[in-house]
């Protein structure tokens, strides 16, 4: 009789996906008491009350069924209206917009739809952790394009061009960026757009943090001249509307791309949950003041945390979007993981080691400022104590040597 080994049944690609390198660290966070967490990638605000109420009311009215595979028609119309209003983009709500289970599903759909075996996907790093694994699952080849603090963690066209080969097919852009808080300046976006056209690429633009931008109005990559058809625009409700747990996102794209993505979506997901779509509809209809209010608070916290990090002696790029800040911890002489672990053990503050977001994130840590001012103040006091102690140790060691 053959002995059953579950491992032998697991798909090779899945087996070969590297497990999250910082899992051990997060287990440590979960098991430590009294931690102030700057490690969470979601708003500290609860979803605005009237959005929650809209969901409750929809349940009371009996909205408990499937919706169209594309999502509720009214919600798609409001998404189209929002994209028109905000970015002057014209999308046909019937053929070009689909509601997904979070922006995450949209990323998966887009990559699965575009990538065949061996196609190269250009991924600027540091970046959100899912692009590479999904690319690998589709049989594509992730090509890392590192960005650096000297370029404000923004992708530059010059640098990107070096990585483009005849096999390049897709460029993933995610600005405002998680984990760095970087944004793409308009001029650089335009230069990148020229490359996209020159080398016949398609862009997956993950714009989930687009409403949280602190240096001016948001800009969508799809709105650049000639780029709308070549861009799969992904956005969602999680970050701007503080609706992470609802799992509602959307994708806007060329009708052919959308029809292809719809095939995968209808066979795997059917449709996003109706109650969450009801809430999203209320968010788009009546929530822009809440978004402004939350964005203003993030902005105040951003300035505060940035100034504290500089004061304690960490070199830091001033983030212009999202709710993350990505200071360099090089002066402490510690690796990202050691810094995060020792900070957690000594001062009970949780941050995410930068290398979780790619090799170019080594030497940095990601702090989320989606936390109350009281928590941020206390967290910065603790971190300052920790950093100053390390700097003193280092200078003593240097003096002895």
């Amino acid at each position: 009789m053959t002995i059953f080994k579950a491992q032998n049944f697991i798909n090779e690609k899945v087996k070969n996906l590297p497990p999250s390198g910082i899992r051990r660290f997060f287990d440590l966070v979960a098991n430590t008491k009294g931690v102030i967490s700057l490690g969470v990638g979601e708003p500290d605000f609860v979803t605005p009350w009237h959005i929650r109420e809209a969901c409750v009311q929809s349940l009371e009215k009996g909205y408990t069924m499937y919706t169209s595979n594309y999502g509720m028609p009214e919600l798609r119309e409001y998404i189209a209206y929002y994209l028109k209003n905000r970015f002057n983009l014209n999308y046909d709500p019937e053929k070009q917009i689909m509601v997904t289970v979070g922006a995450s599903e949209a990323i998966d759909l887009a990559l699965r739809t575009l990538i065949s075996k061996g196609d190269e996907v250009l991924i600027p790093e540091p970046c959100y952790v899912s692009y590479k694994p999904i690319t690998k699952l589709t049989g594509g080849v992730p090509v890392t394009v590192s960005t650096s603090m000297k370029d404000n963690f923004a992708l530059t066209a010059d640098h990107l061009e070096k990585y483009i080969t005849p096999k390049s097919k897709v460029l993933i852009l995610s600005y405002p960026n998680n984990p760095t808080g970087a944004v793409l300046p308009k001029e650089e976006m335009e230069k990148i757009a020229s490359l996209v056209i020159k080398y016949n690429l398609v862009v997956i633009s993950d714009e989930i943090y687009n409403e949280l931008r602190y240096d001016g109005p948001p800009l969508s990559f799809a709105s650049l001249p000639g780029l709308q058809d070549r861009t799969i625009l992904i956005n969602g409700f999680s970050k701007a509307f503080a609706m992470t747990g609802w799992r509602v996102g959307y994708v806007a794209a060329h009708p052919d791309f959308l029809a292809a993505m719809l095939k995968i979506h209808q066979y795997t997901i059917l449709c996003a949950p109706v109650m969450a779509q009801m809430a999203a509809l209320e968010a788009l209809k009546n929530c822009h003041l809440d978004v402004e209010r939350m964005a203003e608070q993030y902005n105040q916290r951003r300035r505060y945390v940035y100034s504290r990090l500089l004061e304690m002696g960490l070199e830091c790029f001033e983030p212009k979007g999202a709710f993350y800040i990505f200071p360099s911890i090089e002066v402490t002489g510690l690796s990202s993981v050691d810094f995060a672990e020792e900070l957690l053990k000594e001062e009970k503050v949780a941050v995410v080691p930068g290398n979780a977001f790619g090799k170019s994130g080594e030497g940095f840590i990601r702090c989320s400022y989606a936390a109350s001012m009281n928590e941020l103040t206390e967290a910065m006091n603790r971190m300052e104590r920790f950093v100053v102690k390390r700097l003193n140790l280092n200078s003593r060691a240097a003096a002895q040597a």
Binding site: R23, E42, V46, S307, M373
Partner: protein
């Protein structure tokens, strides 16, 4: 700019001028000056602490009292309002529209104390026609703060 400074201070009076300056991207001396000016101009009246007394051993009873008054020539309601808000027991006085004229918040150590203040002091004032006392049984929310907020931070650890 003043509005932004005030909004921050309204929520947290302990913020320093430096912190406010950083949060609003303003020069510190500018913020310091604006705050001083607003104190001078009586825009900022005082820096207060919001306390949930129910969580202490302190006995406190408060009541909202609807007061109907006869307005007087020339001074309208102001004169009688003045006579009412001078009492230490009275913590707030509002002129309101509707069936009553003044809404008066009274605080005391016991039900008896508040009741005797109303019957002996308030209702006997000249021009006061009638009073109606509502004792406050529980405070849920005050000045924008929910006292027993059940919506704690529920974010869970999620591997990014």
């Amino acid at each position: 700019m003043r509005k932004k400074i005030l909004k921050l201070l309204e929520k947290n009076a302990k913020l320093t001028a430096k912190e406010i300056a950083v949060m609003l991207a303003l020069p510190v001396d500018r913020v310091t000056k604006e705050i001083a000016d607003m104190e001078q101009e009586k825009i900022i009246l005082r820096y207060q602490t919001l306390i949930n007394w129910e969580r202490t051993d302190e006995q406190k009873v408060s009541a909202l009292i609807d007061v109907k008054v006869t307005p007087q020539q020339d001074v309208g309601f102001d004169d009688i309002a003045n006579r009412i808000y001078r009492y230490d027991e009275v913590t707030s006085v509002f002129l309101i529209s509707g069936a009553y004229d003044l809404s008066v918040l009274v605080e005391g150590k016991s039900l008896k104390e508040v009741a005797s203040f109303v019957s002996q002091k308030l209702s006997t004032l000249e021009h006061v026609q009638s009073t109606r006392t509502h004792f406050i049984l529980k405070k849920y929310k005050q000045d924008g703060v929910i006292f027993e907020d059940r919506e704690a931070d529920r974010r869970q650890v999620l591997h990014p």
